[in-house]
């Protein structure tokens, strides 16, 4: 039998750089109140959200990704030609073939990088990060771009008072590359397809095409069920990720949960009994829920404002439609 040469990777991987793009249009709660019967106070008390960004026609999924990824590449100190793979997580790119990752890889000027999209909702960043780490360690790519990008304003029912205020648009990206010591811990991830009705797109595109529904599909959720699962079940997953990485809550510097809703974040912090010394990402207040983009966007902002610094140990956890989840401990770039 012929002997196959094994691939040659690296012992460890780390996040080398991060970048974000927030659309230029800032949308305050007052705009949301034009289509739902609610109040600024109600929206803030239920979600913590004050403003979100909505993309314009030029701020496409690809355009926002290229902006965020360009910053991440510069932050990592590499060139686009060195990127070996581009992984894009999105649920709001409406042209499914070809994968938007290929257009992004081309526009960035990569040298024919492998490029593909994944669909893992609000856990997409963690799923992508796990794939990227695997690629670097296994050796199929030296540097991997992981991009979370959404235009959730296109999938928002502006007349649904339970969700109209929640969603925002944006892109967040990281570059994952080789490391000499562990900087991305074991991923604790999974899916609970039996709870698929909890957060979902209302109807398939084909129902809209066929005229069986009048309203364009939107994302809908069962608020209380989502809250219970996100806080109490995800706190267990977050704890498992800490344990898997051998990190205690006292050793943690930063907590970056998916920016779904500030009430979920508050309750998770309480349930996890995180010490006050831990910096908690609350980007949801001004960015809304941007699904797969929320964790890298929050990471980028914490580093930009100085609330977190390079080398800090951060727990990241994404959770959402599927239901799916992914948590891990990382060293910040």
């Amino acid at each position: 039998m012929a002997k196959i040469r094994p691939s040659k990777g690296h012992p460890y991987a780390r996040i080398l750089g991060v970048g974000g793009y927030r659309p230029t249009r800032v949308v305050p709660n007052e705009v949301i109140l034009e289509t739902i019967d609610s109040s600024d106070e109600w929206i803030r008390s239920r979600s913590g959200i004050e403003t979100r960004h909505w993309a314009n026609d030029e701020e496409t999924v690809a355009a926002m990704s290229v902006e965020a990824a360009g910053k991440a590449i510069a932050d990592a100190g590499i060139t686009a030609e060195q990127v070996g793979a581009v992984v894009v997580s999105t649920v709001s790119h409406f042209k499914q073939t070809p994968a938007v990752a290929t257009e992004i890889a081309d526009k960035l000027g990569t040298d024919r990088a492998a490029a593909f999209d994944i669909s893992a909702g609000c856990a997409g960043f963690g799923y992508g990060l796990t794939l990227a780490k695997g690629m670097v360690v296994e050796g199929s790519a030296e540097y991997v771009l992981v991009i979370g990008v959404e235009r959730l304003s296109d999938l928002t029912d502006l007349e649904d008072r339970a969700t109209a205020f929640l969603f925002g648009d944006g892109a967040g990206a990281v570059v994952v590359g080789p490391a000499t010591e562990p900087a991305i811990g074991p991923t604790v991830w999974g899916s609970e397809g039996d709870k698929s009705e909890t957060i979902k797109q209302t109807v398939p595109w084909t129902d809209y095409r066929d005229g069986t529904v009048e309203r364009f599909p939107a994302i809908t959720q069962e608020g209380q069920a989502v809250f219970r699962w996100a806080v109490f079940e995800m706190a267990k997953v977050a704890k498992e990720a800490l344990d898997a990485a051998g990190i205690t809550a006292d050793e943690l510097d930063v907590f970056i949960p998916h920016q779904a809703n500030e009430r979920i974040i508050d309750s998770m912090v309480k349930t996890l009994k995180l010490p006050e010394s831990v910096t908690v990402a609350r980007d949801v207040r001004t960015t809304g829920n941007t699904s797969a983009a929320s964790i890298p966007l929050a990471m980028e902002r914490l580093l930009a404002t100085g609330e977190a610094k390079s080398g800090d140990t951060a727990l990241v956890i994404g959770f959402g439609a599927g239901l799916v989840y992914a948590a891990t401990v990382v060293t910040l770039p």
Binding site: S45, E222, Q224, R228, V231, S267
Partner: protein
């Protein structure tokens, strides 16, 4: 040993106090969580989870919406506690 109605109301009062900051004496059987006790739909989930632990009872999501008053919750726990 199963908790009595009185013990359940006292336990719920502690929980509501902890979560919503409402004085324990305000938590009475006829009080509505949302209208009288400042417990919104998300805080209600926290109350339910805390009650589940305290009284060894399972309160599924689909039953939570039926627990409008402290009395509703007390009756539910009395009937379902382990």
């Amino acid at each position: 040993m199963a908790a009595t109605q009185e013990e359940i109301v006292a336990g719920l009062a502690d929980i509501v106090n902890e979560i919503a900051g409402i004085p324990v004496e305000d938590v009475q059987l006829d009080k509505s969580f949302t209208d009288d006790l400042d417990v919104d739909s998300l805080s209600m989930v926290e109350v339910v989870v805390a009650a589940e632990e305290r009284f060894d009872v399972k309160i599924p999501d689909e039953d939570v919406k039926n627990l409008k008053t402290v009395g509703d919750a007390t009756d539910y726990i009395l009937k379902h506690q382990g």
